[in-house]
Symmetry: C2
Subunit: 237 residues, 2 copies
DNA sequence: TCAGGCTAAATTGTATACGATAATCTGCAC
DNA sequence: GTGCAGATTATCGTATACAATTTAGCCTGA
């Protein structure tokens, strides 16, 4: 019961060594949409794929389920999450709720070099948008999410940063499921507008732009309930 | 790769059967401050305590580490989290960031019966405050957190609700570590003021009161860095 | 042909086993 | 008595084993 003097526990890795890698690999696959919602992730398969035992595979899947990227159903197994329209709405409601606040915090602490970094990100994002091919598309998806994540990082609040991690990842799933326009997940120019507003220190405008941006992404979704169309309706066209 | 028709996955339990109970039991113990920050939670001990194998004990501890209630250090074991002053600040910054938004959402959807429920909670809280004894004290701690959690539940956003769960639990740890006034963790009357403001539909005032309330809790903390006082200073009085 | 139930295969839930790492203790040299 | 090296113990990391549950297939009988 001694205090163990765990004072300087500033930023350690959260957990296991092995499971971490697997979790990250699967998460990337989900976020970049190489794994479709609903795909079954059996423990044995995951284990074989990464040459580890089911123990580690299971740990990784558990971890992903805490982030909401995977649903594990008792005695049935783990599946890439298949967010319902209601869940999708809640994810974006959460983003509208927190992102303005994060933006304000970030703007208050941002340094010139960090602004530079943000701009570099935008450049990269634009470049990828020009290219074609799946690889570029995936990189673009990641980059557009990274913009929001970078803002959270700049805000300096590790807790909000982790939360945004989760929200951005889950957003990617939602877009994969309900997105309509084949085009990018995130209006690229809108990111630039936000940075510009930050640069001229117009916080209210920046928040407004951010809210618009989120609304814009959400507007591209078709959130009508598709309740297991697998019935006859699917063939009665 | 079939869609598996996982449509109505509205609100299932996230994971295992056994580990869940253990996790909840430990979490309650932490939130009610029966377990002090820094306490070691060895996998074997936890397993023996609940009469399960290390496998389940480990899973429970991992889960708690995702919520930030437990730190698991590689090859060393799991400890009840010992939040640094910086972490404490971030936890409350996060609460200031999200709770007004949650409050607004909640106020927009609240029903008369839910208002009634909130008032009942306040009554209960007040009653506990009058009693004495550890049991009452612990129940009071839980109740005062439940106020914030109930608001999140009323907001109807499951994601924000889970996030608040985490924040409230971690707040309890922070208060256990840095709280000064022996008295309750939450100004009880302030909860009542918030409800009153909601009732007369004065949202701006309600948010203002909520922010004050959070600031009030935070003001009771002594967040000075106590860096492993274990040195001579501890004995040079 | 189709419904129903039984059996077998696959998959998850949990426990145990073994190797690896870190903490602790012991004894020897100084 | 102090300091360090080696051995010992405790604990974690990962794999494997076995039990329980679900799923799919198959056969049978109307």
């Amino acid at each position: 019961m001694k205090p163990t003097a765990t004072a300087l526990q500033t930023a350690e890795e959260p957990a296991d060594t092995g499971a971490q890698q697997i979790r990250d690999a699967i998460r990337d696959a989900i976020v970049e949409r190489r794994l479709s919602p609903g795909t079954k992730l059996s423990e044995s398969d995951v284990g074989n794929l990464f040459n580890v035992s089911r123990t580690l595979a299971r740990a990784a899947l558990q971890a992903l389920s805490y982030e909401g990227l995977v649903n594990v159903e008792k005695n049935r197994g783990a599946f890439v999450a298949y967010p319902s329209p209601e869940e999708a709405r809640q994810i974006f409601a959460a983003r509208r709720l927190v992102e303005p606040g994060i933006l304000r915090e970030a703007a208050a602490r941002i340094t010139p070099s960090q602004i530079q970094h943000l701009k570099q990100l935008l450049l990269e994002e634009g470049r990828l948008m020009g290219e074609r091919g799946q690889t570029a598309r995936r990189a673009e998806i990641k980059a557009s999410g990274d913009f929001h994540l970078t803002l959270a990082a700049i805000s300096g609040n590790a807790i909000m940063q982790r939360f945004m991690d989760e929200l951005v990842a889950r957003s990617s799933l939602v877009i994969a499921l309900y997105g309509q326009s084949t085009i990018s997940s995130c209006g690229h120019s809108e990111h630039g507008d936000v940075v510009a507003a930050i640069e001229r220190n117009d916080l209210d405008e920046a928040c407004q732009l951010m809210l618009h941006h989120i609304a814009h992404i959400e507007a591209d979704l078709d959130l009508r309930e598709r309740k297991s169309v697998g019935l006859k309706e699917a063939f009665e066209l």
